[in-house]
């Protein structure tokens, strides 16, 4: 796990209409499962995972995934999508504590 939670995405800046493009995402996150105990105190370490990932394009749902405690730290999600026109791809990761980490990328359809 890294010290800070930071989302990263790799999106092609330009695409052809309807062409399949690969989107890569990675967020640094401990994905604490809630099953482990603190070695010193014996207390259960509270669960803290990214439980939902959503990608929208111009406000419309493009891709989403529910993540569960078995997913490893620093989850990497890759998907393929076809965009019909230029617009903004928005990515959101929802944490157990309610925080949402987001990032936006512009895709120009030539």
């Amino acid at each position: 796990m890294a010290a800070n939670i930071k989302p990263r995405v790799k999106v092609p800046g330009t695409a052809k209409a309807g062409e399949a493009i690969t989107i890569k995402t990675l967020i640094s996150h401990p994905m604490e499962s809630g099953q482990r105990k603190d070695r010193k105190t014996g207390e259960l370490i509270p669960r803290k995972i990214i439980n939902k990932f959503v990608a929208t394009f111009n406000g419309e749902l493009a891709f989403s995934a529910d993540l569960l405690p078995a997913v490893a730290a620093n989850p990497y999600i890759e998907f393929v999508v076809a965009v019909p026109e230029s617009g903004i791809m928005r990515f959101e990761w929802t944490d157990d504590d309610g925080s949402v980490y987001d990032i936006e990328k512009k895709i120009t359809v030539a």
Partner: protein, 280 residues
């Protein structure tokens, strides 16, 4: 017209166990640069060929290291870059204040570690160097060996030597350390009565239960290990090996582990530095 189609999904959950070892013949290429992961050993080497741990991993794991975006170890290198220019300690200085651009000042350092330190008249690992500089020049608290900060910094400094051949000095003042490391490598210890050589010299390429034994090369450290879900130092790996053979491990940063680190690096002379690498 506004319909979006999600065509396929490939979520890497870092859970899949490798099964095929076809990867032993693959070449490691990152950003068009081919890395030396296999070379003929010199005549005086106990090994016939020197092979990077990367070659012993499954295709899936190997592939992750070929793309800096997919390689989770780069998260740490990125954090190290942040720390490089962050002011710390009583002197109010950052690493960058003295060392400037790491891509120039730190280039090649990782490839020559561990290395003799004149001032302290002892053998220094990269971690020792960083903490010495923190205490001496920044007047800052030393980082713990396995702390996120230390791992981030060793990853970032190591990255500046990526692709360069491992080239450690084993003569002069460090000759004694080299001999000590060699002795440790061949000494059987623990309840299972095993030496490093029993697995990593005579049995590399074979399976030890579910693990594909490598030569125990150090050219990729610190590594992001899937099992650890994070980064680990060379000394953490040593400790893990010693635990596995039911020996009492030496401490991280101990003279024993530092000597062993030098000896192991010397067995991998010529391999490309892969820091920060990815293993399962």
């Amino acid at each position: 017209m506004k319909t979006l189609v999600a065509l396929s999904l490939a979520a890497t959950l870092a859970l899949s166990a490798g099964q095929a070892f076809a990867g032993e013949d693959s070449e490691l290429v990152i950003d068009g640069e081919t890395f030396v992961t296999k070379l003929d050993a010199p005549a005086d080497s106990p090994l016939a060929e020197i092979i990077s741990g990367w070659r012993f991993r499954s295709n899936e794991t190997q592939e992750l290291q070929t793309d800096d975006f997919e390689n989770p170890a780069m998260i740490f290198a990125e954090y190290g870059e942040e720390l490089w220019s962050r002011v710390d300690g009583a002197e109010g200085k950052s690493c960058a204040d003295c060392h400037g651009d790491a891509s120039e000042s730190m280039k090649g350092l990782r490839a020559s570690m561990p290395k003799w330190h004149e001032g302290k008249a002892t053998l220094f690992t990269l971690e020792d160097h960083i903490n010495w500089s923190r205490e001496e020049h920044q007047k800052a608290e030393p980082w713990k060996w396995e702390s996120q900060e230390m791992l981030a910094m060793t990853s970032y400094i190591g990255l500046q030597s990526r692709g360069m051949p491992v080239n450690v000095a084993t003569d002069g003042p460090v000759a004694e350390w080299y001999e000590k490391g060699k002795e440790l490598y061949y000494t059987r210890v623990g309840q299972l009565d095993m030496a490093c050589a029993n697995c990593h010299e005579t049995n590399y390429g074979n399976m030890i239960r579910a693990d594909h034994l490598s030569q125990g090369q150090t050219n990729g450290f610190p590594v992001y290990r899937m099992k650890w879900q994070g980064m680990g130092s060379i000394h953490r790996r040593f400790k893990g090996c010693m635990d596995n053979i039911r020996a009492t491990p030496y401490k991280r940063g101990s003279d024993e582990f530092t000597a062993l680190e030098l000896y192991l690096a010397s067995r991998g002379q010529g391999l490309s530095v892969e820091t920060p690498s990815l293993r399962n």
